[in-house]
């Protein structure tokens, strides 16, 4: 295949998992040069080994930034950057920039970087996602002796909701970047899936494999991601510490079953999701709130996921069910929170 003759549309629709990376790099090199950059240096260091000594350990922050009493007086960074380990970054959007405060992930491989989710703010002048991502990649490249222009960035997202892809605008002008389209077909095509949601594909970031498969239920178009290096399972908005809005119960339950099957032969260190909406004591923070002072940790255990499955087995009616770690909002479309008017009296 002559990669140089690809137009943008064809390039975008080419499944990334099937592309031979060196060919892409070779195809991109003249363009990078034409843009005034220095010729791409050959990989300087030995390839990083992502396959032995797994799971790679890492740590989450003691406390994520969680808003402030007055939004306009918030002095936290727009994006909190947590280097979970040397090759894995978790980021969170500041609640004063968007109440959804979604989490975003960066996984580094020898040849590519995977960015999962882009947050809820479009403009770079409002919220500097692009700058933070560029800084992380530059930092990583400097540390590991690689050229930034050698690393292809894949901008994908967990599911088709704007609080997870709005910031992708900021990456459109970035060189050597491929981004997921915002339709179901483009999303599935991006991973080269032909049998959504059952099919599980392997994305090779250059020695680091990420497993991806369909995870519908919250919405129809959603993926689960499993990083074989840190062994973290990312369940997006389908399962996270907060209110899991289940739009399609049957699809969601089937996705749960798929996760259970996956757990049988894959070790998982943490289950992570896209938001946190409850406190350490299980108190539900109402939808839209911009200050969650006593927030529960974002990451969850495999046991919590398994327990939620056990609870889900008993659910037959629409309604809101608390599993002890998450709220399962089964087809409760109009109800975004579960609280009452505090001033009611008789």
């Amino acid at each position: 295949m002559d990669l140089k003759s690809l137009d943008r549309r064809t390039f975008l629709s080419l499944p990334v998992v099937s592309v031979v990376i060196p060919a892409v790099a070779a195809a991109m090199a003249p363009e990078a040069e034409a843009m005034g950059g220095p010729p791409a240096p050959a990989i300087a260091n030995e390839p990083i080994d992502f396959k032995t000594n797994v799971p790679a350990s890492g740590s989450f922050p003691e406390k994520w930034i969680c808003g402030s009493p007055s939004c306009m007086d918030n002095h936290d960074p727009p994006i909190q950057v947590n280097w979970y380990n040397e090759h894995t970054v978790f980021m969170r959007q500041n609640k004063a920039y968007s109440y959804e405060a979604p989490f975003m992930h960066l996984y580094f491989g020898n040849e590519r970087v995977l960015l999962i989710d882009q947050g809820y703010t479009q403009l770079r002048t409002d919220w500097p996602l692009r700058d933070v991502v560029d800084r992380c990649i530059a930092e990583w490249c400097a540390k590991h002796g690689r050229g930034v222009e050698d690393m292809e960035l894949l901008a994908a997202f967990t599911h088709l909701h704007d609080d997870h892809y709005e910031g992708i605008n900021q990456l459109y002008s970035r060189p050597n970047t491929r981004y997921m389209g915002q339709t179901h077909e483009e999303m599935v095509g991006f991973w080269g899936m032909t049998n959504y949601p059952e099919e599980r594909v392997t994305l090779d970031l250059g020695g680091r494999d990420v497993l991806i498969w369909g995870n519908p239920g919250h919405v129809f178009s959603e993926f689960a991601y499993y990083d074989t290096y840190s062994q973290i399972l990312h369940t997006g908005d389908m399962f996270y510490r907060g209110r899991c809005y289940i739009s399609f119960w049957d699809k969601w339950f089937a996705s749960m079953k798929r996760l259970m099957t996956f757990l049988e032969d894959h070790p998982v260190t943490h289950v992570v999701g896209c938001h946190v909406e409850i406190s350490r004591t299980g108190q539900d923070y109402p939808y839209g709130i911009t200050y969650q002072p006593d927030e529960a940790p974002m990451h969850m255990t495999v046991e919590e996921l398994k327990h939620a499955y056990e609870v889900a087995k008993t659910i037959t009616e629409p309604g809101i069910y608390f599993t002890g770690s998450v709220y399962l909002c089964n087809e409760t479309r109009d109800t975004t929170t579960i609280d009452r008017n505090p001033y009611e009296y008789e």
Partner: protein
């Protein structure tokens, strides 16, 4: 020569009467022209063109005559601050102050300080100032309510040639955390009479006694009398205030362009009937609530906690809104319901977020503009 009766109101010092004596004389007594003598030469040659109720060169303390025929004039033609896409980068004032007229000020808390963005009202009479409600934020560095009120009072006193004026702070509800938080900032203020927060003590404060629900209180600011009307329903200790000078009714949470959360439907209906009755005997210009949550789209409101509301409904409601609310709330007493009206939404016995993205089929279905993230 008799002094010229100027505008609605001002007692002229002798010196001014003398200075004005070059103008043609209009001899009728001031009492005949409570709203101002239409024939009076307001702007004699050389004077600034102003419709101020103040004399041009007051020699001493100015006493204003608040007697009017109908509502005193006022101006609301201004856009309220409404937050921004990115709350952390908001550069609007923390409190927006609007001079409705020379004795009536409306303040709004910035929605990026607190999403409730409550309105507070400051009224002046000859002998006192009245602050109705105190906002949702206790910290003065985020929400400098006391500083703002102090500055308005100093400015007002300067204009009126007064040394000071005592301040009374009252609340439309003592329990509402969207309106009672700022009161702490006034705790040590001199010449200040603060309402207690607790129900019984509050009713004592307004001299309403034990059968307060049937009572009617009054606050005399010196020529300007504000009526205190007990209106429980959205709060068990709800009060409304009616200012006879501007003919504005301050309702707090009871009725405002937003998602009104009824706390007790029987009390709510009774309170609305009370206001309806009051409206028949008193000319009422507008109902001024404590918040704006509606969009400028029939029956649609911004969800809770939103701090970006680019196209808000107006603050003021027509007095007929009371009749409309009565008519529509009667049918849902005792039942969980969301009543969508063009200018307000009533929520009875449901979650505060019930049907938050909806409207009623009998209202015009106007889509929310595509460029907001609320267009679902």
């Amino acid at each position: 020569m008799a002094p010229i009766p100027v505008n609605d109101a001002t007692s002229l010092e002798t010196s001014q009467a003398a200075s004005a004596s070059t103008c043609p004389a209009h001899s009728p007594a001031p009492e005949q022209y409570p709203d101002g003598n239409p024939d009076a030469p307001y702007n004699p040659p050389g004077a600034r063109n102003t419709d101020s109720c103040l004399p041009l060169k007051p020699a001493g303390e100015v006493v204003h005559n608040y007697a009017t025929k109908g509502p005193a004039p006022g101006d609301l033609a201004f856009r309220w601050i409404h937050g921004s896409v990115c709350a952390a980068k908001n550069t609007d004032p923390r409190i927006q102050v609007l001079a409705y007229n020379e004795d009536t000020y409306i303040m709004r808390e910035n929605p990026c300080v607190n999403w409730e963005a409550p309105f507070t009202y400051l009224l002046f009479g000859n002998h006192g100032a009245l602050l109705i409600d105190t906002g949702a934020t206790p910290e003065a560095e985020y929400y400098p309510l006391r500083l703002t009120v102090d500055q308005i009072i100093i400015r007002w006193c300067g204009i009126r040639r007064k040394k000071s004026v005592p301040l009374t702070v009252v609340l439309t509800s003592g329990e509402d955390v969207a309106q009672n938080q700022g009161i702490r900032q006034f705790a040590d203020r001199a010449q200040t009479n603060l309402t207690p927060l607790e129900l019984g003590a509050r009713m004592e404060f307004h001299a309403l006694g034990s059968s307060w629900k049937q009572g009617l209180g009054r606050i005399d600011l010196g020529g300007r009398v504000v009526a205190v009307i007990p209106t429980p329903g959205t709060h068990k200790d709800g009060l409304s205030f009616f200012d006879a000078y501007t003919c504005l009714l301050f309702t707090g949470d009871l009725l405002y362009p937003g998602r009104v959360q009824i706390a007790n439907d029987r009390d709510y209906v009774a309170s609305l009937l009370r206001l309806q009755q009051y409206k028949q005997s008193h000319p009422m210009k507008w109902v001024m609530g404590g918040h704006v949550e509606m969009m400028f789209i029939p029956g649609r409101a911004y969800p809770r906690f939103s701090n970006n509301r680019p196209f808000e409904h107006l603050l003021q409601l027509e007095p007929e809104s009371i009749d409309e609310a009565v008519e529509h709330v009667r049918g849902v007493v005792g039942k969980p319901a969301v009543v969508f009206r063009t200018n307000f939404i009533l929520l009875n016995r449901v979650s505060p977020d019930e049907k938050v993205y909806q409207s009623a089929p009998d209202l015009p279905q106007i889509p929310v503009p595509f460029w907001t993230s609320l267009s679902q």
